[in-house]
């Protein structure tokens, strides 16, 4: 079997007596469009935080492109090709949109520690950032401080920064969260047009977005994988409906 893009092997996390992730086996194929769903408190955020390295698992392993990254820190995981966006926009708020993207590209190209040549003379970085902004229709905002943009556009800047890192795997943590419904269509368009070679895992509450975007869906409930399958299988699954319609799950 070819190496997966991202994989977890019996991943567990508990805070004292509280188990928030219980032996999660998860596999993200190269180029996949995968969604992770589950009710509030299912452990989605904990799972993502373990993938990105924000918190350490209690046991189990995480593999990126077949390599064990369980002990690798957050920034080093990013440099190995694991990109992410945040549920709540996490940006350089007072910096222009261009700088938000350029800072990431500079890190990727190991230019960020150079101290002599002015940043604005690093044409290769600026050109790449501008091209990226163009693909997201953000060109006209390049010089605007991020904090002056409407929230929907800020969500796009999140995605732009992540893409600038040229990740092999991209984790999108609720990309449409907090976006007014008339703008969420734009987010979906952008998601649909992302390069096919990036494996994408999207964590989302918006079922409409999930079912239109994902080819595979994993349902997480109480720290465990309840079921994984194609969207039509998930939609037809009785247990998933029970969870989401709030019916008794003690069966």
């Amino acid at each position: 079997m070819a190496a997966s893009a991202l994989e977890t092997d019996r991943l567990c996390k508990s805070f004292g007596a509280l188990t928030v992730a219980e032996s999660i086996d998860f596999r993200l194929e190269p180029g996949a469009r995968h969604a992770l769903i589950g009710p509030n408190g299912a452990g989605k955020t904990t799972f993502v935080n373990m993938l990105t390295g924000a918190i350490a698992p209690s046991s189990g392993r995480i593999l990126l492109g077949g390599e064990d990254i369980t002990k690798v820190n957050q920034a080093a995981r990013v440099r190995r090709g694991l990109g992410r966006t945040f549920q709540v926009t996490t940006l350089f708020r007072s910096l222009p949109v261009l700088d938000n993207v350029a800072l990431g590209i500079a890190e990727r190209d190991a230019v960020a520690r150079r101290m002599w040549k002015p940043a604005s003379r690093h044409g290769e970085i600026i050109d790449e950032a501008m091209q990226l902004l163009a693909t997201l229709a953000l060109t006209s905002d390049a010089r605007t401080p991020v904090k002056d943009l409407p929230y929907g556009r800020q969500r796009l800047v999140e995605i732009a920064i992540a893409l600038g890192l040229k990740p092999k795997v991209l984790l999108l943590d609720e990309p449409a969260a907090g976006v007014p419904s008339q703008d969420s269509g734009r987010i979906l368009e952008v998601l649909a047009s992302l390069p096919g070679d990036i494996a994408i895992l999207v964590i989302e509450h918006d079922m409409d977005l999930v079912f239109r975007f994902a080819q595979r869906i994993t349902v997480l409930v109480q720290g465990q994988v309840l079921v994984e399958g194609r969207p039509d299988e998930i939609a037809a699954d009785r247990r998933v409906r029970d969870v989401y319609l709030g019916e008794a799950t003690h069966a």
Binding site: T52, Q74, A75, A76, V78, R79, G83, R84, F86, T90, L91, F92, R93, S94, L95, P96, L98, D99, A102, L103, G104, A106, E107, R108, V111, A112, R113, R114, M115, W116, K117, P118, A119, S120, R121, H122, I125, I126, A129, A142, R143, I161, L165
Partner: protein, 329 residues
């Protein structure tokens, strides 16, 4: 002032401080000692601005590096007979850099109040060491008998402070060039990223902790050089270069001038030290009161410091002239 969208060319206004310094040299020869002190504090404030204004590292202990630099130059000269001015600077820079990397590596894992207290603790410890190790530092009496050779073998430190002023001006000019270059570089843009959002920096793959240690060490080195300059100019080192007080004074100077604007580090020390000089002569017992009032006024009415107010005025002025032009049509 930094980043990928700003024009890095030197504007004509940026030459004003240097013109002013040269004018000062020729017109106010009786104040050259004060002038040299101001230049040294500008260099010291620049080093603080790099970590506080750009990288967002909050500190009350920057005098640790200034003081270590001052004592390194002083002790090497008075106790070990090293009188070459550049070797003194070099030794002070090296000592401050070592302290910067050693303490930075420990304390930069923390932030906010914890970090503030740790920086304060470090300079307080150094103050206590300098106070107790009288055989080396002269303790509370200070270390006198510091000698420095003529600069380049030609320019002797004179009692009027002419050599001292020009020497410090050159040192500051080099410091300014380096810091300015750094701020406009990708490294400088990265520093503003550290200040703005460390979570985001982690997420773009930046080794945040090591970057903080790096910029902290660079800043410490500069502060050490500034301290050594003070020793060379005064031919004396006292305990007042260490501890909370000089750190606090420096912080006040930078806030007065404007934090994170490069030239705030120029304006602050000028205003502070001239006010101090004047007030100390007029009201020897209450001069701190005047400084306090100045600080309160700036913090209440001008959050960006003195340069912040000037910026606002200029903006208002250009809007007015802009609308005047528009209505004239």
């Amino acid at each position: 002032m930094s980043g990928y969208t700003v024009d890095p060319r030197i504007r004509w206004t940026e030459w004003l401080p240097w013109v002013a310094a040269i004018a000062f040299f020729f017109t106010l020869p009786e104040y050259l000692s004060l002038g040299a002190r101001i230049l040294i504090y500008i260099l010291f404030a620049l080093s603080l601005d790099l970590i506080l204004g750009y990288a967002g590292i909050i500190t009350l202990g920057h005098s640790a590096f200034f003081g270590l630099g001052a004592y390194t130059a002083g002790v090497l000269s008075a106790r070990y007979g090293l009188t070459d001015p550049f070797l003194q600077l070099l030794a002070a820079a090296a000592a401050a850099a070592l302290l910067g990397i050693a303490t930075g590596a420990v304390i930069l894992r923390t932030k906010a109040l914890t970090l503030l207290m740790l920086t304060l603790a470090i300079t307080s410890i150094l103050l206590e060491i300098a106070n107790k190790a009288t055989w080396l530092t002269g303790g509370a009496d200070g270390l006198s008998g510091v000698k420095t050779d003529p600069i380049l073998g030609m320019f002797k430190f004179d009692i009027f402070g002419k050599t001292a002023f020009i020497y410090c001006l050159f040192a500051l000019f080099i410091g300014w060039l380096v810091v300015r270059r750094m701020i406009y570089s990708p490294f400088g843009a990265m520093l503003t990223g550290l200040r703005e959002n460390t979570a985001r920096m982690h997420a773009i793959g930046a080794p945040v902790y090591w970057r903080l240690v790096l910029v902290y060490t660079i800043s410490a080195t500069m502060a050490g050089v500034a301290g050594a300059l003070l020793t060379q100019v005064n031919q004396f080192v006292g305990l007042n270069v260490l501890g909370l007080e000089p750190s606090g004074d420096l912080l006040v100077m930078l806030i007065l001038g404007g934090v994170g604007r490069l030239y705030g580090a120029f304006v602050g020390p000028v205003v502070y030290l001239i006010a101090q000089d004047y007030l100390a002569k007029q009201y020897p017992e209450y001069w701190y009161f005047g400084i306090g009032v100045l600080l309160i006024v700036v913090v209440l009415f001008a959050r960006g410091g003195i340069l912040g107010i000037i910026d606002k005025w200029l903006q208002a002025l250009s809007r007015q002239t802009g609308s005047a032009k528009a209505s004239a049509r």
